[in-house]
């Protein structure tokens, strides 16, 4: 300890402190600040570039997924439209079928009715014709038969017989 104190030189202490303080201020002004600023600036620019790249990548990813979503939507839309069209076609066809069947039925019914009516008319006509013909025939037959007396008598008796049978 005695030696330490003896070795201590006030002059050296003075110069050391003075020079060192000066050195700190000079270096701060001319070296450390510019160097640290440059290093900071560089680090920030590197960080900024990295962040920008990351952001771009994220954006790309988002864009890609967006595209995919749009594609998917489009596909779905197409499916939907196709399905709708198919359904529409089916309904139209079904409806058309129904209408056709109904129409056909209606026609058949009408035709049947017409046939019936025609038939009835024809039968009535035939009946009338038959009645007229019968009367004419009867008139002619009767005219001929009843021209003789005996034939009239025979006729009457025959008729009476017939009634008896009935």
């Amino acid at each position: 300890m005695d030696k330490l104190i003896n070795d201590f030189s006030i002059g050296l202490f003075f110069w050391q402190s003075l020079v060192f303080l000066l050195l700190i201020f000079l270096l701060r002004r001319y070296a450390w600040k510019p160097i640290l600023n440059a290093v900071n600036e560089r680090e920030e620019s590197i960080e900024g570039a990295l962040k920008a790249a990351e952001a771009a990548r994220e954006e790309m990813k988002a864009l890609q997924s967006n595209n995919e979503a749009i594609m998917k939507e489009a596909r779905e839309e197409r499916e939907r439209i196709l399905k709708e069209a198919r359904d529409m076609k089916n309904t139209i066809v079904a409806e058309a079928k129904e209408t056709a069947v109904a129409e056909a039925e209606k026609t058949v019914v009408a035709a049947k009715a017409a046939i019936e009516a025609e038939k009835a008319a024809a039968v009535a006509e035939l009946k009338n014709q038959a009645a007229v013909l019968s009367i004419e025939v009867a008139e002619k037959v009767l005219g001929q038969e009843l021209s003789a007396e005996n034939k009239q008598a025979a006729m009457i008796s025959k008729m009476i017989d017939e009634v008896k049978i009935n």
């Binding site: 050391q16 060192f20 070296a31 600036e41």
Partner: protein, 395 residues
């Protein structure tokens, strides 16, 4: 975190790997002056003895230190050689008024004394500590790396503890350590301003910035932010960065053969620790003081006791910062030079080879310690700042 740290330490280690080799070359030239026969075995210590010759005449009154400096001590005189090594190590670690490089090469530094007025003169006047310098009718003498006021003959008197009793003037000299501090400050200023300038053209570092920027980012991301927090760390970055590089570079400078021992000097580490201490106290928030003087969540009777303990802790923190850095760097230098000194003491090839290897190993270890101590100091400083600005959520 650890792996990053190891990586940069290893890098620094490689950068300075060639330094021990340079130290040995340096010693080789001096060996001739001594006429030592075991040339190879005496590289380092030959240099050491020569260096010590500087204060040979300055300390002539001090006979208890044993053998004269710069004289040839025979290998059989183990005790004599031991004391040479001891003195060499001490001299190497001490501050100096001149910058000695190699052999006779070096330059004097300005001496600034305050002794009834400011006195500025060149340390060349001391003639490497050999003679008395006369300035404005006053006489000064260097003794054990300190300036004392003496008479015209340079007489130094001692008390019973062998401490000089001569008056010491207030000494603000630009010593070797001060010179290194200023040199390192200028070097750091231009280095980091240069790095800062490269960012003007592009945000990518170039040249030295490629190596230094990861360290700056390391201090920010691994030291400042985890310890201080995102919110406050920016205010302390200048201090933390400056102190880290300052300590680290000066530690590394200490590993060169120039014998610079700035961070292993108590005055320097006290200054650094005191700055950390004052920044911590001045940035202390309400919570910080509350935790020191009136600890919440503890029985009231216990609170004054804790306050005493906390106050002791407050003082111990800068003290531990001071001693940790000082002792680590000093110890590293002492160990390396002592092991090199063993070669001189044993004076044989059998000793030279393993001890050189061991020195190399310790040298590499010291390079790691140089970075580690800078890291630890910065880490602890940021830890203290973090505690000062921390805001507790009270329950």
């Amino acid at each position: 975190m650890i792996s990053k740290f190891t990586a940069f330490s290893a890098f620094v280690g490689l950068m300075f790997f060639s330094a021990p080799a340079a130290a040995q070359d340096h010693g080789h030239e001096d060996a001739h002056q001594e006429e030592v026969h075991h040339d190879d075995a005496h590289h380092e210590d030959a240099h050491a003895v020569e260096m010590h010759a500087e204060d040979a005449h300055g300390a002539h009154a001090d006979h208890s230190e044993g053998h004269g400096h710069g004289e040839f001590v025979p290998a059989s005189d183990t005790e004599g050689r031991k004391s040479v090594v001891k003195e060499t190590v001490e001299h190497h670690l001490a501050d100096s008024y001149e910058f000695h490089i190699v052999g006779p090469v070096g330059f004097p530094l300005p001496v600034i004394l305050y002794d009834n007025g400011l006195k500025v003169f060149s340390s060349a006047k001391f003639h490497h500590g050999e003679s008395v310098a006369e300035v404005d009718g006053q006489y000064y003498m260097v003794h054990h790396s300190k300036i004392y006021k003496t008479d015209a003959e340079g007489t130094i008197t001692y008390d019973e503890h062998h401490h000089p009793t001569n008056e010491k003037p207030l000494d603000f000299s630009i010593t070797k350590n001060v010179f290194m501090i200023i040199f390192m400050a200028v070097f750091m200023f231009f280095l980091f301003r240069g790095v800062a300038k490269t960012y003007k053209n592009s945000l990518v570092p170039s040249k030295a910035g490629r190596f230094l920027e990861p360290l700056i980012v390391f201090i920010r991301d691994e030291i400042a932010i985890p310890n201080i927090g995102e919110k406050h760390y920016k205010r302390y970055m200048s201090f933390l960065l400056t102190i880290f590089f300052f300590i680290w570079f000066l530690n590394l400078a200490g590993m060169t053969p120039l014998g610079v021992n700035v961070t292993g000097n108590i005055a320097v580490t006290v200054s650094l620790a005191l700055m950390t201490f004052f920044i911590t106290q001045f940035s202390g928030k309400k919570d910080y003081w509350m935790h020191i003087f009136w600890m919440p969540g503890v029985p009231v009777l216990l609170r004054p006791v804790l306050a005493v303990i906390e106050l002791i802790g407050l003082v111990v923190k800068p003290f531990s910062l001071t001693i940790r850095l000082y002792a680590n760097m000093l110890a590293g230098h002492v160990v390396i030079m002592s092991i090199l000194g063993l070669i001189y003491i044993f004076a044989s090839y059998t000793a030279a080879i393993p001890f050189t290897g061991l020195t190399l190993f310790l040298y590499v270890l010291e390079l790691l310690v140089a970075a580690l101590q800078a890291y630890i100091f910065t880490m602890l400083a940021s830890l203290y700042f973090g505690a000062a600005v921390e805001e507790h959520d009270h329950h």
